[in-house]
């Protein structure tokens, strides 16, 4: 294995030949360089896209903090080198290394991948290969790191099961410590890799695929999933933290320009809106909120320790934060004398949102983003995101009137049962928005319609529906392009190939692993990057393994189908999801679940956590029933507290 000094010498010879060498050298403020030899467990955290995108990832930042706060462990970082750097690394024999110590990833005890979206899968394989770590979990031995993945896409881990020793399902803050505590025993108690993996598999929220065996029916769907070891969970229930821990504040300050070059504070986790297409909204429940004073203190500390000129207050739906008005006032007061841009994403379409953003503007941005997602009443009922046209028109008119010149509206096509009329309505709505804007602000007003295509996601009410076909998507996009020819309306869209790729990877089963491997072997990587689109490579990989992509993308699922991911659960019950899917077909809205608990399954699963954390922190109702353990101990139910 190369030493850090050897790697640095080799790097010096190649770095001036690549674009943005600052991506590959570390040395950022707030990066943590710990003594290698005094750590029992060394963790490499990997975001499998380029530095520019990965360095601001908040999930990995949380884990980096959690691990580096321990005296007995260290965490370092690695990202995907861009193709110019990768070619030189391979030519010079430089393995993937961690930025802090310049040590090869193969020398770490744990390599943890963040996989928030499916188009990173081939990159994860590529990075394992570049690190010289066997790609398949089954080929790794005592000398290799344990390779674990987490992140939203791993709520269906099956397509990547062959390449990961384990997956973390759900939130990482606590489980990372459980994992490290097991890894500390690697040289004593768990010297045999299988023993180590079994110990990991017994940690709540950890899924070790080798201990689960799916059996298929003749039609290719799942018959059942068998567990191959004693004492492991089936289904594996996601981990959550009962109370959001103090947010990280010592963000790494990149020395080069990157995407999201800013500090951020997560104000809430989860969402109560229940939009049926929304993966995050279904899998990150329950909603937990931070207190205003805690957020303001963290924001102050983050800005102080980074010097960033921008602060983002993160959540899935900012408007729904209980104390949003109070928070915005407090943040405005705290930073009133500073040149700080504060961004508040995911606002509801109502005039209150404009007031909120108005109050936060320091360095004034010129754009305002809203996400109506659909443009007909029928479609809004189907997806459970109900906003009237009048609300959209009134809000956007007001935004233009108050001096913003650019509005970005996000829509999706390809929702279940969508017709060309629903798509036409998107174009009509955009035209109305800009016409109304011109009345109040003149000809300079601009509109950007970002129209993506819906991908049915596992563990959501739409996991039963088929993805729109390539032909349909193209016809709908052609309609929009034809209709939206106004020179002040910009239209952007997703290529159908990208949608289909995401679609088969999202709801894939274990057989997809060979397709991913073959596609990577034949050159697929950076699948989220337009210049790396290789749809034909994917299609031939399917053909090589005798599989049909339409089985995963376009097949409507039976009501009673066992899905490839059913032995993993985000704690929202499948029965609930199916009922919600049925309500969708009937055009029934479900209101915000803060107003009415629909018993999605979160509370029964996490009753103990909720019972121990009553009151404001969660947006689920309090649990007053006694603990199950208490009941059995005493032989009769306890009085309600």
């Amino acid at each position: 294995m190369l030493t850090p000094e050897q790697i640095e010498t080799k790097l010096d010879r190649i770095l001036l030949k690549v674009q943005k060498p600052g991506r590959y050298v570390g040395g950022e403020l707030n990066s943590v360089v710990k003594d290698w030899d005094s750590a029992d467990v060394r963790v490499a955290l990997v975001f499998p896209d380029i530095y520019d995108i990965g360095v601001s990832n908040v999930g990995l930042k949380i884990l980096y903090d959690q691990v580096n706060q321990r005296g007995d462990a260290l965490a370092e970082r690695a990202y995907a080198p861009w193709t110019d750097m990768e070619a030189l690394m391979r030519a010079e024999g430089i393995p993937l290394y961690a930025l802090e110590s310049k040590r090869p990833l193969s020398g770490f005890d744990l390599v943890g991948f963040s996989l928030p979206y499916e188009t990173l899968y081939t990159n994860a394989l590529n990075l394992l290969d570049l690190a010289g770590i066997p790609l398949r979990a089954g080929e790794r031995g005592a000398e290799h790191p344990i390779v674990i993945a987490g992140g939203h896409s791993t709520i269906n881990p099956e397509p990547m099961h062959a390449f990961m020793d384990a997956f973390v399902i759900g939130e990482g803050e606590e489980v990372i410590h459980d994992i490290i505590n097991v890894l500390k025993l690697r040289n004593t108690q768990y010297a045999v890799r299988d023993d180590l993996l079994l110990a990991l598999a017994k940690i709540p929220g950890v899924y070790v695929p080798r201990f689960y065996q799916p059996h298929y029916m003749d039609d290719g769907t799942i018959a059942r999933v068998e567990t191959l070891a004693e004492g492991i969970a089936n289904p594996v229930v996601k981990r959550i933290v009962a109370k959001l821990p103090p947010p990280p504040t010592k963000f790494i300050v990149p020395n080069i320009e990157v995407v999201h070059n800013r500090a951020s504070v997560e104000i809430t986790r989860g969402c109560t809106r229940g939009c049926r297409y929304c993966h995050a909204g279904m899998i990150t429940r329950p909603v937990r909120e931070r207190r205003v004073d805690e957020i303001v203190a963290a924001a102050r500390e983050a800005v102080r320790s980074t010097g960033f000129e921008e602060l983002a207050l993160l959540s899935l739906s900012s408007s729904d934060y209980t104390h949003i008005e109070e928070l915005v006032a407090a943040i405005g007061e705290e930073f009133k004398d500073e040149k700080l841009t504060v961004s508040l994403p995911s606002l509801r379409i109502e005039s209150v949102s404009i007031d909120l953003v108005d109050k936060l503007r320091g360095r004034r941005g010129s754009g305002f983003t809203l996400a109506p997602e659909a443009a007909t009443e029928r479609m809004r009922r189907i997806i459970n995101k109900f906003i009237s046209d009048e609300d959209i028109i009134n809000t956007t008119r007001e935004i233009y009137r108050r001096g913003w010149t650019n509005i970005k509206l996000y829509f999706m096509i390809g929702h279940p049962s969508e017709t060309l009329e629903d798509v036409q309505a998107i174009a009509d709505l955009c035209k109305r928005v800009i016409a109304e804007g011109r009345k109040v602000a003149g000809m300079k007003v601009k509109l950007h319609a970002g129209v993506s295509t819906f991908v049915p996601k596992p563990q959501t009410p739409f996991q039963w529906v088929s993805c729109d076909t390539r032909e349909n998507i193209l016809a709908k996009q052609a309609l929009l392009k034809r209709e939206l020819r106004d020179r002040n309306i910009k239209l952007s869209w997703t290529k159908p190939e990208d949608t289909l790729l995401e679609s088969f990877l999202s709801r894939g089963d274990r057989r997809l692993a060979e397709v991913i491997f073959t596609a990577w072997k034949n050159g697929a990587k950076f699948d989220a990057w337009e210049e790396h689109r290789r749809f034909e490579t994917w299609m031939s990989a399917f053909a090589e393994h005798g599989l049909d992509p339409a089985f995963y993308t376009h097949r409507p699922r039976r009501a009673d189908e066992i899905f490839a991911w059913d032995h993993i659960t985000a704690a929202v019950r499948k029965k609930y999801l199916f009922q919600d899917f049925r309500r969708s077909l009937e055009g029934h809205i479900r209101v915000d679940c803060r107003l009415n608990c629909y018993a999605c399954g979160i509370l029964p699963t996490f009753a103990d956590l909720r019972r121990d954390n009553p009151g404001e922190g969660w947006k689920c109702p309090d649990v007053k029933s006694p603990r199950k353990a208490d009941v059995s101990d005493r032989g009769q139910p306890l009085a309600i507290r």
Partner: protein, 209 residues
């Protein structure tokens, strides 16, 4: 108050460019709670001037920047605050107060000195190659599609053995005026030394009186 900060730029920070250095100084000043002066207008920018852009990949022990503050500060405590707010690869060498009415720092620089450490395999008959280069009438070069003459940008060249390291040092003094800046890597290439084999450090900036 106008501050003049001299600093070194080493290690990982060799690989960050001029604009990124600008942002880095702005953020460091903010972390150190220095009251920067900002421009007016839609996108206020802090008033920071860097003397001379340093080509990517080179270290330096002779960088200089001016920062304007909206109030006066004690230079000793300011230096300590700023140093602790900077990444480890930037070390402050000196902080002075500069005359508010002095011309922009960039317009004061006339030349820069570099020290290139090269492997011995490229050191044989180096002195004669240096002399040949200095004697040339002109050295036409193409950079970013434009032809220019490298020769008048070279003010002096000198070789010196590095003590006991099996390496040789070349001292280069190159013009660094606006629109007439010599690049050490191009001079090395003209000497038949692959620039990526050398370690280059800027050791001095020369200002007009």
């Amino acid at each position: 108050m106008r501050l003049r900060v001299a600093f070194s730029k080493q290690g990982a920070l060799r690989y960050i460019g001029h604009l990124d250095l600008h942002t880095l100084l702005e953020r460091a000043a903010r972390r150190a709670a220095l009251p920067l002066v900002y421009s007016q207008g839609f996108h206020p920018a802090p008033k920071i001037q860097i003397a001379a852009a340093l080509p990517l990949g080179f270290s330096s022990r002779a960088e200089m920047a001016d920062l304007w503050l909206s109030e006066d500060r004690d230079l000793v405590s300011l230096r300590a605050d700023l140093q602790s707010a900077l990444p480890r690869d930037i070390q402050i060498l000196d902080v002075q107060q500069a005359d508010d009415r002095a011309p922009a720092l960039q317009t004061l620089v006339v030349a820069a000195e570099y020290e290139a450490t090269i492997p011995d395999e490229f050191a044989s008959d180096l002195t004669s190659r240096l002399a040949a280069l200095m004697e040339a009438e002109s050295l036409p070069r193409v950079r970013r599609g434009k032809t220019y003459d490298l020769r008048p940008l070279i003010e002096s060249l000198e070789a010196a053995p590095a003590e006991g390291s099996g390496e040789t040092r070349v001292l280069l003094r190159l013009a660094a005026r606006e629109g007439a800046t010599g690049r050490p890597d191009e001079v090395l290439a003209a000497l038949g030394i692959p620039p990526e084999s050398a370690r280059v450090e800027r050791i001095r900036l020369i200002f007009r009186d």
